[in-house]
């Protein structure tokens, strides 16, 4: 466990000093500042417009960084052979994968935290800050943690940055439409497509559970169930990643 935490810690350190990571983060912070301009042009509820667009920007930009880092990290480590230096220090392949996943999840939450703090300060000054906002940020972090584990998985099975990026982005998009997939599947009773869609419904992440906007008016959200779902999903993806990585000839 100690080694997983160590790999996670230094993956975070490495990501924080990554130029692409920082570039997108600066851009995100700047963009959030610009959302304050929306307050001037909004006809009513300017604060809410800032909050919604700020949260959208946070999720979108952190998603871009997450996809980039998770899809490239292991591929780069294998290509540059830096992975050997870790694997020859009493670190098993599975611990390495778990450590990398943990490090990228740390990075996701770190990014969401920085951008969330800036937006939080702006919202506070506009009198729009409440606990719903914190919950929304946490859900963004959870959603992107799933995306990060999928990025690592696709990078291991595809061996290509471009392919894994496409797969991860595609899964991110499809993950938001699982309910639609289910609805279509119910209409295609008895056909092969129904089987395919049912399978997709089972394996795709259910991002509808983590869509903060849907919880605005609901008071009966079962947080434990949602967090439990995210933990189980990430665990399944990490197990699959480990199996693929064990078979991989480095």
């Amino acid at each position: 466990m100690k080694k997983i935490l160590t790999i996670g810690k230094y993956t975070l350190k490495e990501n924080i000093s990554n130029k692409v990571f920082n570039g997108v983060l600066y851009f995100g912070v700047l963009s959030i500042f610009f959302t304050t301009l929306l307050d001037e042009v909004a006809l009513y509820e300017g604060g809410r417009v800032i909050r919604d667009s700020g949260l959208f920007l946070t999720e979108f930009l952190v998603m871009l960084i997450t996809v980039y880092i998770s899809s490239t990290y292991v591929i780069k480590a294998v290509a540059e052979k830096s992975i050997y230096l870790v694997l020859t220090k009493a670190v098993t392949k599975s611990k390495y994968i778990m450590g990398i996943n943990l490090g990228i999840i740390y990075s996701v939450f770190c990014n969401v935290f920085v951008m969330g703090c800036i937006l939080g300060i702006i919202l506070y000054t506009k009198g729009q800050f409440d606990w719903w906002y914190i919950r929304a940020l946490f859900f963004i972090g959870l959603k992107l943690s799933i995306v990060s584990s999928l990025g690592v998985f696709f990078s291991i099975i595809s061996d290509s940055f471009v392919t894994s990026t496409i797969f991860t982005l595609f899964t991110y998009i499809l993950g938001h439409g699982v309910m639609e997939i289910k609805a279509i599947s119910e209409k295609l009773t008895g056909s092969v497509f129904q089987w395919i869609l049912d399978l997709l419904y089972i394996i795709l992440p259910k991002f509808n559970l983590l869509n903060y906007r849907d919880y605005l008016k609901q008071g009966d959200t079962n947080y434990f169930l949602i967090i439990g779902y995210v933990v189980v999903y990430i665990t399944c993806v990490v197990v699959a990643t480990n199996i693929a990585f064990e078979k991989k000839r480095l």
Binding site: E80, Y84, L87, T88
Partner: protein, 252 residues
């Protein structure tokens, strides 16, 4: 003398992944073919060969980074290096890239923590090694500012961080100036005097001749010969490894 490494009839084939080449009947490239040798405790054992001869493949098989298709490998008397066994092993890869944005001290701490070196000892140990290789004044610098030779020194520093019982060096002299080469030889001999077994690959034959106890010549994946350097030096004063190597590899 106990054997630390035992390699028996090991073969490795790199399978062809290009489907078009497969259709044309290309199955892949030979990594190594039926090689056998032993390395004794406290010995300096070197493998020499041309580019692509199978030196790095042999080393990776011993380290367990690649599973050979055939044959048996034993390290410390075990079939496979696992878990804590690696804490007795140091390794310098042929090309060691490091996260460029990391600071030297952070990188060394990272590897030290993976070796389970206690924090109190770790910083002292890092300072001691960095002093020895002349990089102590650069310890807070990011690795992107380091030259190729300096990065090679960093590689050697991380490989000896845990006082290894068995040290693998893949082209340790690559990119080093003559002074740094001398320093590496000094480090290798110092470790040998402490009982460390050293296994290294290199192209620089003068260094091999001066420090190796035994030298294996490998060509096109096959082990051609294992030379006992001490014995040869006693028997032939004018023995030149370079000439012998060219002659042997040429004949093969």
């Amino acid at each position: 003398m106990n054997n630390v490494i035992s390699v028996k009839n090991v073969s490795l084939m790199y399978k062809e992944r290009d489907i078009f080449k497969k259709i044309k009947g290309v199955n892949g490239n030979i990594g190594v073919k039926n090689i056998s040798f032993d390395v004794g405790e406290g010995e300096i054992f070197s493998i020499i060969g041309l580019n692509g001869a199978g030196k790095t493949s042999t080393l990776k098989c011993i380290l367990g980074l690649i599973k050979p298709d055939e044959g048996e490998i034993e390290v410390f008397g075990k079939k496979e290096l696992k878990g804590m066994d690696f804490e007795k092993v140091g390794y310098l890869p042929e090309i060691s890239y490091y996260p460029k944005s990391m600071k030297l001290m952070d990188l060394m701490r990272y590897y030290g923590e993976l070796y389970n070196i206690p924090k109190v000892e770790l910083d002292e140990k890092i300072d001691e090694i960095l002093k020895k290789i002349g990089l102590i004044s650069r310890k807070t610098d990011r690795l992107e500012k380091f030259s190729k030779g300096m990065l090679q020194k960093v590689g050697i520093a991380q490989a000896v961080l845990n006082n290894p019982k068995l040290l693998f060096l893949d082209e340790p002299m690559s990119g080093l100036d003559p002074l740094a080469r001398e320093l590496v030889i000094e480090i290798i001999l110092e470790l040998k005097s402490k009982g460390t077994t050293i296994f290294f690959n290199t192209h620089i034959l003068e260094d091999v001749a001066s420090i190796a106890d035994r030298v294996a010549i490998i060509n096109k994946g096959k082990l051609v010969e294992v030379l006992d350097m001490k014995k040869i030096m006693l028997e032939q004063d004018d023995f030149l490894l370079k000439n012998y190597f060219i002659k042997t590899v040429g004949e093969n």
